[in-house]
Amino acid sequence: MSDNKKQVVRKDAAWHELPVGGIIPAGGTAKEFKTGDWRTIRPIHDREKCIDCMFCWAYCPDMSVIVEDGKVVGFDYDHCKGCGICAKVCPPRVSAITMVPDSEADAETKKEEEAV
């Protein structure tokens, strides 16, 4: 299935190799399309504050809130577009999500890596 998907969306396909009429002849192919690189700001989750109300999970338009065993554990940054809806719907008294510019977040990650 995933081989088929890859073939369907092969970026270098010539015009006569594509499915007729611009259809995508397979399901769930949005997974292959990394919308995360559209993002300029990203949500950062504070596990300590989170009450697992699932508002963010329900509202996220990109299904990018990762939940395991009924608990929010983070975000799928490959697909999260950084719209900030999750941060907006997180109850104000909880405020477990902060939106941070991607550039800052990247610099932070780099620092941490260097420290290690």
Binding site: I23, I24, G27
Partner: protein
């Protein structure tokens, strides 16, 4: 409306003949909105539905934009789908015409040619379908009700052919053909249903076990490739049209090609024409021939794809050509058929002199005297070797 027997000769208007063809083709879905002069087609067809003569799902939509949208949806779902329209109705479909062809859906649509407003007019000219000439649809034109009927049946096979997968407009002149009563030979119902077969689509939307995405966003990285493929389908359509024409000839004895020629083989002067005017021209050509004038005609049946190579060959021996356009393109250099024919003749070894006559706008009659005048002009052009002007307006008050 009675159900006809095999090769039954019956007096029908063009609209009735097309409605009969639709009954015999028996599409799964027809979504349509009435507009003069097409109204009768959908009215008669809807009575076939209510009388139980066809089991088509008939969708009486609220506009032509919806008619074409519903037809696109039905065709993508896997249903053989049709609609019908005229003039401003076609104009209202515009956005979806391109979606139908770009999505490669084999929709068949009779279009009863009528002048586009404004000023408002309900009578025949080709401004409606000629305006849609770059919409990616195949365009078949008919000279009379018989041809409209025959084109409808062939159109289904052309549209659905695996090499093509493009929508087809079957055009006929408003009122002149749509409301004129003629003898038409209809095939037996079974012969038609065997000829058209059943509609099979590779990836129908209703196949829930194999989900697909239909009509996804198609940006800089893929849109161009899809358009390139669409262009190729139009190129391939030419052979398919000829092949289906031959197959149909086996049933009826009448051969449909890309165009019809009339006394053209040894003609010195010729006209190029589309639609019902060809019938009038044939009478005038016979008259001129009896006076020893070598007059001929080429009647275009397939306008899209435009058979430029075949037309070039068919006209290469003619000294002077007049192209008759029942639509102006307002390019300041004549009508659309003129542009195409002139471009086709550019590569001819001996380029003929070609002039254009825009005629019949808004249903203005064209008669034998007018066609005779065109031939007289052509004889003068042939003798002097000079064109007076590229564009002439035939039948307008000067």
């Amino acid at each position: 409306m009675s159900v006809v027997a095999k090769k039954h000769r019956i007096a029908l208007t063009g609209n009735e003949a097309v409605a009969q063809a639709m009954r015999q083709i028996h599409p799964d879905v027809v979504a349509a909105y009435p507009i003069t002069p097409q109204t009768e087609i959908v009215q008669i067809f809807s009575s076939f539905v209510s009388d139980g003569l066809v089991h088509t799902e008939y969708v009486p939509v609220e506009s032509e934009h919806s008619a074409m949208s519903a037809t696109v949806g039905a065709a993508a779902a896997g249903a053989r789908s049709m609609t019908a329209t005229s003039a401003n109705g076609l104009a209202l479909m515009w956005e979806i015409l391109y979606i139908a062809s770009g999505s490669r859906l084999p929709i068949v649509m009779p279009v009863v040619n009528r002048a586009l407003s404004g000023p408002i007019n309900i009578h025949c000219d080709h401004s409606d379908t000629m305006g849609a000439r770059d919409s990616g649809w195949i365009h078949l034109y008919s000279e009379n009700a018989q041809e409209a009927y025959d084109n409808m049946i062939q159109a289904v096979r052309i549209a659905e052919h695996p090499d093509v997968k493009l929508p087809v407009m079957v055009c006929m002149d408003g009122f002149i053909i749509s409301h004129g009563m003629e003898n038409v030979e209809l095939l037996d119902d079974k012969v038609v249903s065997d000829f058209v077969g059943s509609y099979k689509i590779d990836h129908p939307l209703l196949d829930i076990d194999n989900p697909i995405t239909f009509g996804p966003l198609d940006l800089q990285d893929f849109y161009f490739e899809h358009k390139r493929a669409q262009a190729e389908a139009m190129v391939r359509a030419k052979n398919v049209i000829l092949q289906i024409g031959e197959e149909y000839a086996k049933l009826t004895g009448t051969k449909y090609e890309l165009f019809e020629t009339y006394r053209l083989d040894d003609a010195e002067v010729a006209i190029v024409v589309i639609g019902s005017t060809a019938g009038t021209a044939k009478v005038q050509i016979d008259k001129l021939r009896s006076q020893g004038i070598k007059a001929g005609m080429l009647k275009v049946r397939v306008f899209r794809p435009f058979p430029y190579e075949e037309i070039k060959q068919a006209l290469s021996h003619v000294s002077a050509i007049a192209v008759l356009d029942r639509a102006d393109s307002f390019s300041s250099i004549g009508g659309p058929l003129f542009s195409e024919t002139r471009a086709a003749m550019y590569d001819a070894e001996k380029r003929p002199l070609i002039t254009n006559y825009v005629y019949g706008l808004g249903g203005r009659d064209i008669n034998l005297a007018m066609i005779e005048k065109v031939y007289q002009d052509l004889l003068e052009i042939k003798d002097t070797g000079k064109l007076k002007q590229y564009v002439n307006y035939l039948g307008v008050r000067e």
